[in-house]
């Protein structure tokens, strides 16, 4: 499907809505250390990633995330020998089932948090982040915007400079020392180039009234409408409900020495509603779309 991968959640809403959502869901994920809550959050993050980033890039990410999770799960028993169900003994180290479960839970929290951050970065582009801060700190926002321009430019120019040197074959460094000095040379060229450009940039800012007003204003790319305040109230309520539910679930749960019983299924409903909100919205948006 051609549209896969370009479907940001909360499209068409003021950026403050996705910002509140992702802050809330990441907080709930990191604070609720209980297998069912973690499982729900992980599933929700995966669903959201599939809905807005597409299958290919989600799988590409999982290629490194799953091994890391596995490593954490397997490493935990080595460091914490607690629990009551002995699985096996590796020399002096005893591996308990509870300890393994704890590790698996920790690995899942890690993957879920990474996935939520990836989802957030897809929804909250730099433009949207700036729209959040623009009203309160226009100058900070401007500086963020300038940095966002300069960093990729520096990388691009670095490639251009080293390319220009290595394309000139007679002047190509032949020794290891020569190659090392050519890297230093690249940074020297970049430094000179950037300093020179910054003088022009400063002139360009002055020519357009830099410092003329007591206080800078901000261009508003996004309007905050009634719809947005309704959505924001909804998201905040959901986050609060999920937070309470997750707190109840995780405060009544212990891994050690024996895993305690889980709360009844309906105790997780708010967490599930929160975790699957963006994917449900995306799915609903796609199914309900009429041309």
């Amino acid at each position: 499907m051609a549209t896969t991968g370009t479907y940001p959640a909360f499209d068409g809403l003021h950026p403050v809505v996705p910002a509140a959502y992702f802050c809330g869901v990441i907080m709930v994920t990191m604070l609720a250390f209980q297998p069912v809550c973690v499982g729900i959050s992980l599933a929700g993050a995966l669903a959201c990633s599939l809905a807005q980033r597409g299958c290919a890039s989600t799988l590409r990410g999982l290629r490194w995330q799953l091994p890391v999770a596995l490593l954490v799960a397997l490493a935990n028993p080595l460091f914490s020998a607690s629990g009551s169900t002995l699985l096996l003994r590796l020399g002096p180290v005893a591996v308990y089932a509870e300890s393994l479960a704890y590790g698996a839970c920790m690995g899942s929290v890690l993957v879920a948090a990474v996935l939520w951050f990836e989802d957030a970065s897809r929804s909250l582009t730099s433009d949207k982040l700036m729209a959040l801060t623009g009203g309160a700190w226009p100058t900070v926002t401007l500086m963020a915007s300038m940095t966002a321009r300069l960093v990729p430019e520096l990388v691009r120019r670095g490639r251009e400079v080293s390319g220009a040197e290595s394309a000139c074959t007679a002047a190509r460094p032949s020794t290891a020392a020569g190659r090392a000095s050519s890297r230093i040379r690249t940074s020297g060229v970049l430094m000179g180039w950037s300093l020179e450009d910054s003088l022009v940039t400063a002139d360009s800012m002055r020519a357009r009234g830099w410092g003329a007003a007591e206080r800078r204003t901000s261009y508003r790319l996004y309007r905050f409408a009634d719809r947005d305040s309704a959505a924001l109230v909804g998201v905040v309520t959901l986050v609060a409900a999920a937070g309470v539910a997750a707190w109840i679930a995780s405060s009544g749960f212990r891994f050690y020495p024996v895993e305690t019983a889980l709360s009844p299924w309906w105790g997780y409903a708010p967490v599930a509603a929160l975790a699957f909100l963006p994917s449900a919205l995306a799915l609903g948006g796609r199914l309900g779309w009429r041309g």
């Binding site: 120019r157 394309a167 000139c168 074959t169 007679a170 910054s198 009234g209």
Partner: protein
């Protein structure tokens, strides 16, 4: 109104002098001496003159926050107001300024933020700002790329954005310092067209400093020439003349093959669109071969592949036997080659690696007009001199295959003639020259063979005279 002659004066200078502060051990350097001039409201005025004739200084004197350090005298008035008494905000509202470099004058990362930068500085209320940005973008046709990042724009689009973001503040006088010298001729034409509309439709007075007046003469209403500290009015007609580059020493006799590309396919990443799709090309030693074609037709990419800076996804690029150790590439921006503090050191940077004698340095420097500039910092040279310095650096490595990417950018007539001489000399010595260029005037006079790139492949390769005779669209 014009008929009655009561239109005001947009810019008036009375007895203006300026000199740079004295260098250690020297006297003050006068740039302008007792200059008086008037530019009427609604004029499109060209300010011509050679590099170093004080054009930029003159423009900056009318914009106090850009003024250079130095001694000044006389009075500068914009619409009857003394500029030295203008506040920063008033100056921004009254006088817009567009610089030469399309990259460096961008401040923000996205088009919408760049457009609103000036209005944000002036503290314009958001509803008013929204309206002005919308109007200005509509006028310049920026809407399709309003949401894009500045980094993804072409040089021509950036320069139009610089113009638009100055005009969002609704200035009545617009000063431009070599605004098109870093653009290719196609982008230059569309920029000038936008500028023309600003002048005629919006009534904004325009003063453009340039050392290449010929593309602008049709838009202009008057011209001033700066030189030897003075400024005088000149007629527009003679400025129309294009540079003549002289005659090649002898018709080159192409011999061995220097470059052969067979069915080359290339893209920058796995999911990116193809830049080259089945490109075939052969260039011979002893000739100057030009690549022409629009932006994004793959000229730069092709040169990079020949220089070994990338590997074709399919097909091959072969460089003639014995040439691969003697390749040199002149990048679009000569600054990519500058690392030293002086021209002299720059010319010797590769002496150790490439092993050229001191006589060569002196010889090349004098041929390219860099002799007296040994102690100058490369960044203090004009754009054209920078281009020639970069070329000199490459020539010193004695290339047998010279690749040039838009070598005529920013060159005035004199520097173009110097460049043409060097390319002919190189070809006559049996080396191969392959250049990507947007400049039909230069290609027509200098290249032996011309290939046109289109849609990722070579659409035509012909001897240059027949290429231009058979073309209706390539006119200079």
């Amino acid at each position: 109104m014009e008929g009655l002659g009561v239109r005001g004066k947009a810019l008036v200078m009375r007895d203006v002098s300026f000199s740079y502060p004295p260098a250690p051990g020297g006297g003050a350097v006068p740039v302008l001496e007792h200059v008086s001039l008037e530019v009427g409201e609604g004029a499109f005025c060209l300010l011509v003159g050679h590099t170093g004739s004080g054009k930029s200084t003159l423009l900056r004197l009318a914009k106090p926050e850009l003024a250079l350090a130095g001694e000044r005298g006389g009075a500068v008035e914009v619409f009857g107001r003394d500029v030295s008494r203008l506040s920063v905000g008033d100056s921004a509202r009254l006088v817009g300024f567009v610089f030469q470099d399309p990259d460096a004058q961008m401040v923000c990362d996205s088009v919408w933020h760049e457009m609103s930068f000036g209005l944000e500085s002036l503290g314009t209320p958001p509803p008013e700002m929204r309206r002005r940005v919308a109007e200005t973008c509509h006028f310049f046709g920026i809407e399709p790329w309003f949401g894009r990042d500045v980094a993804t724009l072409s040089g021509g689009q950036r320069q139009v954005l610089a113009l638009a973001s100055a005009l969002a503040m609704r200035p009545r006088l617009l000063l431009l310092d070599e605004p098109t010298s870093m653009l290719d001729p196609v982008a230059e034409k569309s920029f000038l067209h936008a500028l023309f509309r600003v002048n005629r439709e919006l009534g904004v007075t325009v003063v453009v400093a340039t050392h290449r007046p010929w593309p602008m003469v049709d838009y202009a209403t008057c011209a001033l020439e700066a030189g030897a500290g003075a400024v005088r009015e000149v007629a527009l007609g003679p400025l129309r003349a294009r540079p003549s580059l002289g005659v090649p020493p002898s018709p080159a006799v192409p011999d061995a093959e220097a470059v052969r590309a067979d069915d080359v396919w290339f893209r920058y990443s796995r999911d990116a669109p193809w830049v080259l799709r089945g490109c075939d090309l052969a260039a011979a030693c002893g000739s100057v071969h030009a690549l022409v074609g629009g932006n994004g037709s793959g000229k730069t990419t092709f040169l990079r592949l020949v220089a070994g800076l990338g590997r074709p996804s399919r097909g091959r690029v072969r460089v003639g036997s014995g040439l691969s150790a003697h390749v040199a590439l002149l990048p679009q921006d000569p600054k990519a080659l500058f690392v030293c503090d002086s021209v002299a050191a720059e010319l010797r940077e590769w002496q150790g690696r490439a092993g050229y004698p001191d006589e060569d340095v002196t010889d090349v420097a004098s041929r390219l007009g860099l002799s007296g500039l040994g102690a100058t910092h490369p960044y203090d040279l004009s754009g054209g001199q920078q281009q020639l310095l970069a070329l000199a650096k490459l020539l010193l490595t004695r290339p047998r295959l010279l690749l040039l990417d838009e070598p005529t950018k920013g060159l005035d007539a004199r520097a173009q003639a110097v460049l043409a001489d060097e390319l002919w000399r190189l070809a006559a010595s049996g080396a191969a020259v392959l250049m990507a260029s947007h400049d039909p005037n230069f290609v027509r006079q200098v290249a032996d063979v011309t290939s046109m790139l289109f849609d990722g492949g070579v659409a035509a390769t012909e001897k240059t005279p027949s290429f231009f005779e058979g073309s209706v669209f390539f006119r200079d």
